[in-house]
Amino acid sequence: MRSVFTPPSDIPKNEVSMKQTLTRRDFIRGTTLAVLGTTVGFSQESAAPLKKSRVIVIRHPDALDENSQFNEKVIQQMLDEAVMKLLDQNDPVAAFRRLVKPEDIVGIKSNVWSYLPTPPEVEKAIKRRLLDAGVKEENIGIDDHTVRTNLIFVKSTALINTRPLRTHYLAGMSGCIKNYIMFDISQPAHHPDNCADLGSLFNLPQVKGKTRLNILCALTPQFHGRGPHNFSRRYVWNYKGLIVGQDPVAVDTIGLRLIMAKRRKELGPAQELPPVPKHIQIADTKYGLGTSDINKIELIKLGWSDGIMI
């Protein structure tokens, strides 16, 4: 049976008002995460009987070589291990068969931003396992800017969502939620109020109910932006990780914690947060897309642990 993520119905909605103002004083008090709807401490061993959103963070020291080139073989291994753990399977193909059926038409929603695109090695790893799971090659598409007119995506019955983790001048963070902005006819229409309503993208007819897997590439995340293009290699680091889950809000919540931890370390506590990525919490509280509450996320960390930060 396919495993399509459904937000756990027994989780109460966060009580934090969507319009609650987060101020600089929340940083000073150290309550930023609480105001964002998350709590500071992880509680993986919590006895609370709530169904949690599982998120896998997997890292490997050889995901990039000494020249910062991506290692295709290692990345395939990372993806396999992450998806197996995510779905409690012992075989990567069996795990992918939980996500897709052979007759599915699958769009891999990638990201082509020139400075930090989704690595082709990640796209290849996903495609390889879709083929292994029985999906026909002609029914697999990889696209970003033309997903609205790409016939594979127009006819798609399943989507795999993958992109790099980075900061963003307006939305605060670009993660799996924001990656679907190209499914809408107008991207600027999602910009008001710091892109607060990006969660609505998942209700678009071309998207709704189709997302089987979210892979946030933290191989070389960007924790700060400079210049018109919001990019400087100074603020990109070799984290060598993937953040994988079926709940896009939970995946982005973990991504945000990583960005904040890195900013705290490199830029200081006063710059812990980029402009507030309120869209992540609102995707939870307003759109019911998943959970942004860290207590309702089962975070499983696999592999290399040096400098893991979260």
Partner: protein
């Protein structure tokens, strides 16, 4: 992309002239692809996520040319017509942290990114990779472009109000809207100061003594009513325990002090002492009229 203006068909606006006056070859790097011009409607097609930062100013158009390197790599030359020298100062000043590069009126260079202003233009030259190899070309291209941009222009008059003692000039920013404030100095997730295109803001860092610093935000509103409403909104959200005084010691034992004067709101953030904050406030040089 249909609304993007290709240079060849672009009519009106001075940025078209750059297509002719800027060399297509420089130090082994060659122009690649078509020159492009984007305006307020099409800037979203070019800047992923950064467009609002420019649209919050009086941005008019940007001329874009890409250069390919002798081996690999790409440079992006962007010349932004910001409408006035004050606005060009603004966009330059909001994102400044590298050493001066000696190009144009004011500039900075750091690892593959040159930024400078000249007159009403703001220019950035960005390397997509191999930044160290591209450095000499970036700086040379910057000098060539700066020479084409006409005479220097004035800085915003609002900066004249800032106290001079201890002012870190290269950490002083000018802007209008909340998106620029929060990228420069995060204050709040909502627009609690009611900033928009009609408001002029200066944010300045001060060296108060050898070790300690303070920050001053000065906002000029179109009228006294808006200033008063913004002051009250700020105090309610940020200093709820000090609605009457506008002064509070925050949890890091530093002081935040807000003051209202006619159509101006001034806020000192994170001053090491109440006295320092008062001294900074009293040194603000408000216009007589």
């Amino acid at each position: 992309m249909g609304a993007v203006l290709f240079l060849i068909s672009f009519a009106g606006g001075n940025v078209i002239d750059f297509g002719q006056s800027i060399p297509k070859k420089i130090m082994g790097w060659e122009s690649a692809g078509r020159d492009m011009v984007y305006d307020r409607k099409t800037l979203f097609d070019y800047l992923d996520g950064g467009a609002e930062v420019y649209l919050a100013f009086d941005f008019k158009q940007v001329f874009v040319r890409k250069f390919k390197g002798p081996a690999k790599g790409e440079l992006a030359l962007d010349i932004y017509d910001m409408g006035s020298p004050e606005e060009a100062y603004g966009i330059f000043s909001c994102d400044r942290q590298d050493p001066e590069a000696g190009i144009g009126q004011e500039s900075e260079y750091g690892l593959g990114l040159l930024r400078f202003r000249q007159g009403r233009y703001f220019v950035s030259i960005t390397a997509s990779d191999d930044e160290q190899k591209a450095e000499k070309t970036i700086l040379e291209l910057g000098k060539v472009v700066a020479a084409k941009l006409g005479p220097p222009g004035a800085s915003p008059a609002l900066l004249q109000c800032l106290p001079e003692t201890g002012l870190k000039k290269n950490r002083t920013s000018y802007f209008h809207g909340p998106v620029n404030l929060n990228n420069r100095f995060f204050v709040a997730s909502e627009n609690i100061l009611n900033l928009d295109k009609q408001t002029d803001c200066a944010f300045a860092e001060y060296a108060l003594n050898e070790k300690e610093t303070g920050n001053l935000l000065l906002v000029r509103y179109p009228d006294e009513g808006r200033a008063q409403a913004a002051y009250q909104s700020f105090c309610k959200s940020y200093l709820p325990e000090a609605m009457q005084t506008g002064t509070a010691q925050t949890e890091n034992l530093k002081w935040t002090m807000a003051r209202l004067r006619k159509n101006y709101v001034a806020i000192v953030f994170e001053s090491p002492s109440k006295e320092h904050a008062e001294r900074l406030h009293s040194a603000v040089r408000y216009p007589q009229k």
